[in-house]
């Protein structure tokens, strides 16, 4: 409980991967377009003024009018602008250097973004003619177009009629994404984590209101200033409130029911979370005195168990509820 000045510690870093497979439903226009790609047919949508938008949208970007008039456009087109990508990044259409292109397909008035497979930037220019290279396996996604490739042909001006109907239409896509981060927790949490490796719990005291935050985040949310002094708290504490968990969580090897509690470690200005063990779930109570139990190589207490002391008086922890 002796305050020690906060000192800079070695910065901690750890990989953090965020992955999500968003499942998205398609409206009538996007469903027809993506199903069409699966069938090697490119559809656009005609606006009230007769312009053909490819890729198609459900509402006119200029007037917001609902658009449903589907038409078929060509698999050949003209590059309207381009950019040479010397080092493709993960997830991009081609693993080898390629050009990003906006392509106005024959019969369309707007351009589609995709990749162009070309030997080098000298082989690419605005106005060049290209055609779609279809992916070998197609599922009804923009990636059914593997890429574009150079292809000399005369432009075809007129879009063809198409009712947009296909057997077994695609009605949804899975938009998978993965982003890789390196997480570093900052000064306050680094100190907290370093102390835990020595099985000590440290908080930080606000120099203004003197409250001790555990775990510390570097700032006092009441005063809006940096918490400066490190304070060792615990190891014992008091259960301030708790709940009984009856649903088994995935990948969690704990028998239900178990007790999850707020525990005010001695000297701390607010309670932290922890599981209570070593006592039947229906005998846990407010005021119960507990201490941490560390597993063999655990980096934080596995759970808290009763110390056997008399229960804490309500007045000693009522401010921490």
């Amino acid at each position: 409980m002796t305050p020690t000045p906060a000192s800079p510690s070695e910065t901690l870093r750890a990989p953090l991967v965020v992955e999500f497979p968003f499942t998205r439903s398609l409206g009538p226009v996007q469903s027809a377009f993506l199903t069409g790609l699966r069938e090697r047919t490119v559809l656009g949508v005609r606006t009230e003024t007769g312009a053909v938008l490819v890729p198609p949208v459900e509402y006119d970007p200029a007037t917001a009018a609902e658009l449903r008039d589907l038409v078929e456009v060509g698999a050949t087109g003209t590059v309207t602008t381009w950019a040479w990508n010397p080092e493709p990044r993960p997830g991009q259409p081609l693993p080898t250097p390629f050009a990003w292109v906006l392509v106005r397909l024959d019969g369309a008035d707007t351009a589609l973004l995709h990749a162009l497979d070309a030997p080098g930037p000298e082989a690419v220019r605005t106005g060049m003619r290209v055609r779609i290279r279809w992916a070998a396996e197609r599922s009804g996604a923009i990636t059914d177009i593997a890429c574009f490739e150079p292809y000399d042909s005369d432009p075809v001006a007129e879009p063809g009629a198409h009712d947009g109907r296909f057997t077994d239409p695609v009605t949804g896509i899975v938009a998978a994404a993965r982003l890789d981060y390196t997480y570093s927790p900052g000064r306050a949490q680094t100190r907290y984590l370093h102390a835990l490796t020595e099985r000590r719990t440290v908080g930080e005291r606000c120099p203004s209101c003197t409250k001790v935050y555990v775990p510390p985040r570097g700032a006092c949310p009441t005063c809006g200033i940096a918490t400066t002094d490190q304070v060792e708290v615990g190891p014992r504490g008091t259960v301030t409130t708790y709940c009984i968990v009856n649903i088994k969580a995935k990948n969690l090897d704990i028998e239900v029911p178990y007790v999850y509690a707020h525990i005010a470690l001695d000297g701390a200005g607010l309670a932290l979370h922890g599981r209570i063990g070593g006592i039947p779930y229906d005998q846990v109570r407010m005021g119960l005195r507990v201490e941490p139990v560390w597993s063999e190589d655990g980096r934080y207490p596995d759970h808290y168990r009763p110390t056997g002391e008399p229960d804490a008086d309500y007045d000693t922890y009522k401010e921490l509820l």
Binding site: T81, W82, A83, P86, P121, I142, G186, R217, C223, G224
Partner: protein, 355 residues
């Protein structure tokens, strides 16, 4: 179209920003934000409890964590409860929200802040997640690639060329030598193509940073600042979502926002333009009809420091700071968000004349 004149006078009265750095592993977000919050409070002599409204801007995708802004909020002193809001975009839009709040008369002062730590992830890849998820995001076109498509469209249109882009980069970074917060001050080589036609020098640095601003209304602003930067007008507009629908060489949304903000009613002497890529300055100068008489990005702009989510707010802050110092009488500030200048905000700031 006649610009709307706000009924209530609102000014930027203080501005602070961090030193922008490639990485800040030793700092959590709140640890990065707190010094700039304390700086603007110190400049005005205000205490947290004096602030009528607080608004912030940031993005969970940079942090890789949900509701990441709630942790940074600890730096504000949010207890007892405060009136607070957050925008999931650049802090310039948080400033817009705070301005509206002050115009309604519900508050007399506002604290606006924003921050971005790009260093934990790959910002080029992270920004692909803001794209349309049906047609664009599955292709992972990164932010430099999309800017390069716009740059090539400008080159094809005869609006610029590589030497002209290099000159913009050189001028910006030369100007940044006078900016102690800049990440890339001074001359540096244009480098290799990142995505042709954009070279390293045409692209913004990747970095971490934060900024804060205090707004005040009427006489309160005069009390807090010797020469308030009055917001004469502010507006923000958006382009059609699909890049292939747009003319990438133009920015009608910037022009419209400027018109509605009153930017064309009288000449400006300074323009802080949020152009992370050299080619985007070309688009913005054309859209805003800025000639050589206007001092563009004396701070060095986003080419010298581009903390994502704060770089737009910094443009407003830098423009205001020039008015505070008496270096400018009428300044335009611009902020952008999204690929290829998708969304654009324009504010017109003025200082009181000495007479």
């Amino acid at each position: 179209m006649t610009p709307h004149r706000p009924d209530r006078e609102v000014a930027i009265v203080a501005f602070a920003q961090s030193d922008h750095r490639r990485r800040t592993d030793d700092l959590s977000e709140v640890e990065m934000v707190m010094p700039v919050l304390h700086d603007v409070l110190r400049q005005t002599g205000l205490r947290t409890s004096d602030i009528g409204f607080t608004c912030s801007g940031s993005s969970d995708y940079l942090a890789g964590r949900a509701f990441s802004f709630t942790m940074a909020l600890d730096g504000v002193g949010a207890w007892p409860p405060i009136s607070e809001s957050h925008v999931e975009t650049d802090g310039a839009w948080a400033l817009y929200e705070a301005w509206v709040k002050l115009l309604t008369g519900e508050a007399d002062t506002a604290l606006v802040y924003s921050y971005g730590k790009s260093s934990p992830g790959s910002v080029r890849d992270v920004l692909t997640r803001q794209l349309d998820p049906y047609y664009l995001a599955p292709l992972w076109p990164d932010s430099v690639a999309l800017a390069a498509l716009q740059a090539q469209a400008l080159v094809d249109a005869g609006a610029t060329d590589e030497p002209a882009l290099a000159a913009i980069a050189a001028r910006s970074r030369e100007d940044a030598t006078a900016n102690p917060h800049a990440q890339l001050p001074g001359a540096r080589p244009q480098g290799e193509y990142v995505v042709q036609p954009l070279r390293t020098g045409d692209c913004p640095p990747i970095g971490d940073g934060a900024a804060a601003v205090i707004l005040a209304a009427g006489d309160r602003a005069r009390e807090l600042c010797a020469r308030p930067a009055w917001i004469r007008g502010m507006d923000h507009r958006i382009e059609a979502h699909s890049l292939g629908v747009r003319d990438l060489t133009d920015s009608p949304s910037t022009r419209l926002a400027a018109e509605r903000a009153g930017a064309f009613e009288a000449p400006v002497d300074t323009a802080e333009l949020h152009a992370p890529f050299t080619s985007q300055e070309v688009v913005l100068r054309r859209a805003l009809d800025l000639d050589e008489s206007v001092r563009v990005n004396p701070s060095g702009g986003a080419l010298a420091a581009n903390p994502v989510m704060a770089a737009g707010l910094i443009r407003l802050g830098e423009a205001a700071a020039r008015i505070h110092r008496g270096d400018s009488d009428r300044a335009l500030a611009h902020a952008t968000s999204g690929p290829c200048l998708q969304q654009n905000l324009v504010a017109v700031l003025e200082g009181d004349s000495d007479a």
